[in-house]
Amino acid sequence: MSRFLKTLLIAGLLASPAAAGKLNLGRAALPAEVAAWNIDVRPDGQGLPAGSGSVIDGEELFTDQCAACHGDFGEAVGRWPALAGGHDTLAEERPVKTIGSYWPYLSTAYDYIFRAMPYGDAQSLTPDEVYQLVAYILYLNDAVDEDFILNKENFTSIALPNTGSFRLDDRDNTEYPAFSRGVCMTDCKPSVQITGRAIKDTASNTESE
């Protein structure tokens, strides 16, 4: 449990939200309004709309609407993000984090692509189109074959390889005790050497030595 939660429990601050009186402000949300904005998708599939899409159709759509920035094979153009590759690089010096190599859940790809892509034309894709694009990105990451069809029903059966590598924040065990041990104030080390220096290149008002 995080230190934050512990403090709250000790302080007894977990007040019941039903305790205070209502102020009778705002109005009831209509079902159509909630449906229009409630676009999030969870790893357990909650929020996935009905629909399906094939790798084949996804390839065409991706080439049309996504490849200009993300590359034909999700390898990235210039400094735009890569969507494929990077497998087994996470412990290397320059890890490459993609949907295939890093993301824990496929639902995040569905959610994010509908929510925010294509960049500058967010929330413009239909559910079938998003299924197509997610299927194609899975294919680019060698997770499915080229005849694969993704749909609401088989969606949660797809596990991404890095799912098990995430854990909760453990700083309160691994760091806070070690960094709470008091300090030395005088004669703390015998000598000091400069081991690295930033290059004077970012916008700066000082000259180089």
């Binding site: 102020l23 705002g26 959610d111 909760l168 760091e175």
Partner: protein
């Protein structure tokens, strides 16, 4: 300080001052800025309404947010930095609060803004800004730090200026509604243990927040430093999540969904997770640990006055509480001195510290070290690297070193 040394320093300082006077062209007859009547002392100035919304003096035109174009693919999903080297006190002026957007700045009429509460509640609700103005309000000063602040420094000293190494931070007084009151209005069901906050901008930014935090100290804010939020800071409505990484402070807040588990959105999986050396990752690293930095001298603020009386100043903060102590070293950590914390010491707010001393003109290796109210002490960058490796991007709260040379020129360095 003995009488003798203080007298010696006084004489030295006097010599430096007269040298300075000679430099600015003082003649035997005196400083012409004093002996001649200046135009601004003679002619009338601008009338009261010359500038209905004020602006800084043109002589302060250097105190601006700056960006580093090569950090991101384009300027719409990018970052700029607060000019912390030029600011003093603890409050960040609204015009220079750093910006980070994922889909550009959404600009729209607040009359068109809606806040929805949906999910595991007794009654799903819609609020207009007018409705929200009828809720009880609170005022709080909080720092807001992007967890990628200092992230460029993981592999060694990189950025040439404290604005770039530590400028993804601001400290503002928010006026807002306790989030708890809004949730009470909808009536959270007992199964409702998580909240999803969502923005109305083109990135539709989302983060999952546990109910304990939502009910504790979060605010739904509409004012910063007394005036409306700036568009780049989420006008007309943003979430304030005290002490937690900046990306959770959803701007253009349009929706709060209540659920029974986290959503694992893009900004809490692909981004804002901390990759360790062994290839595993920490997720939901919410709290910003204690950190401090000397803002002057720093690479953008060299010592230009030569030896003599000098002010070292900087900022310290912790997402876990207040800052009771900041230590300063002039010699790279051999000896440490307690800095003077001045002004307000508020929970989860920036603290301002000073160390006043007489510089002998010899090179300095400056560091500051924050202690927070939980007893946590800001670690060195190497101590963090030992535990986390070099690829964790976020949450670099390690001690910063500045090397000042005999001319006062200051560099971003690391030391043994």
């Amino acid at each position: 300080m003995s009488d003798k040394t203080s007298r010696r320093n006084f004489i030295k300082a006097g010599m430096a001052a007269s040298a300075g006077l000679a430099g600015t062209g003082a003649r035997a007859e005196g400083d012409p800025l004093i002996t001649n009547v200046q135009p601004w002392a003679q002619e009338l100035g601008d009338g009261v309404n010359h500038m209905p919304y004020g602006a800084p003096s043109p002589y302060e035109s250097d105190t601006i947010r700056r960006t580093v174009p090569w950090l991101t693919a384009d300027s719409v999903s990018a970052i700029n930095f607060t000019p912390i080297h030029q600011l003093d006190g603890i409050i960040t002026p609204n015009s220079v609060c750093f910006e980070r957007h994922h889909g550009g700045v959404a600009r729209y009429d607040p009359a068109d803004h809606r806040l929805m509460i949906n999910g595991l509640v007794e009654q799903e609700l819609i609020f207009t800004m007018q409705d929200l103005m009828r809720f009880p309000r609170e005022n709080h000063v909080y720092f807001m730090e992007c967890s990628a602040n200092s992230g460029m420094e993981w592999r060694g000293p990189q950025m040439d200026g404290v604005q770039y190494t530590h400028g993804m931070i601001h400290n503002v007084m928010y006026t807002g509604i306790p989030l708890r009151l809004l949730l009470e209005e909808a009536g959270v069901k007992t199964a409702g243990t998580w909240l999803l906050a969502e923005g109305a901008d083109s990135s539709g930014l989302t983060r999952s927040i546990p109910m304990e935090k939502a009910l504790d100290d979060c605010l739904v804010a509409f004012k910063m430093n007394g005036e409306a939020l700036r568009p780049e800071n989420g006008y007309p409505l943003r979430l304030v999540v005290p002490g937690w990484e900046g990306v959770t402070w959803i701007k253009w807040l349009r929706r709060l969904e209540i659920g029974d588990r986290p959503w694992h959105q893009r900004e809490e999986t692909s981004k804002y997770t901390d990759l360790m050396a062994d290839g595993t990752s920490r997720r939901f690293t919410w709290e910003m640990d204690a950190k401090s930095v000397i803002t002057s001298p720093s690479p953008q603020m060299p010592i230009t006055h030569g030896p003599g009386q000098t002010v070292i100043t900087g900022l310290a903060w912790s997402g876990h509480g207040t800052i009771p102590q900041v230590d300063i070293t002039l010699d790279g950590g051999v000896n440490w001195h307690k800095a003077r914390i001045d002004g307000l010491s508020l929970d989860k707010s920036l603290h301002r510290f000073y160390y006043d001393f007489v510089w002998d003109g010899k090179p300095l290796l400056l560091q500051s070290r924050a202690h927070d109210s939980t007893g946590y002490i800001q670690p060195t960058k190497d101590a963090l690297r030992k535990l986390r490796g070099l690829s964790s991007t976020y949450h670099n709260n390690g001690i910063q070193t500045w090397a000042v040379n005999a001319e006062g020129i200051t560099d971003n360095v690391e030391i043994s």
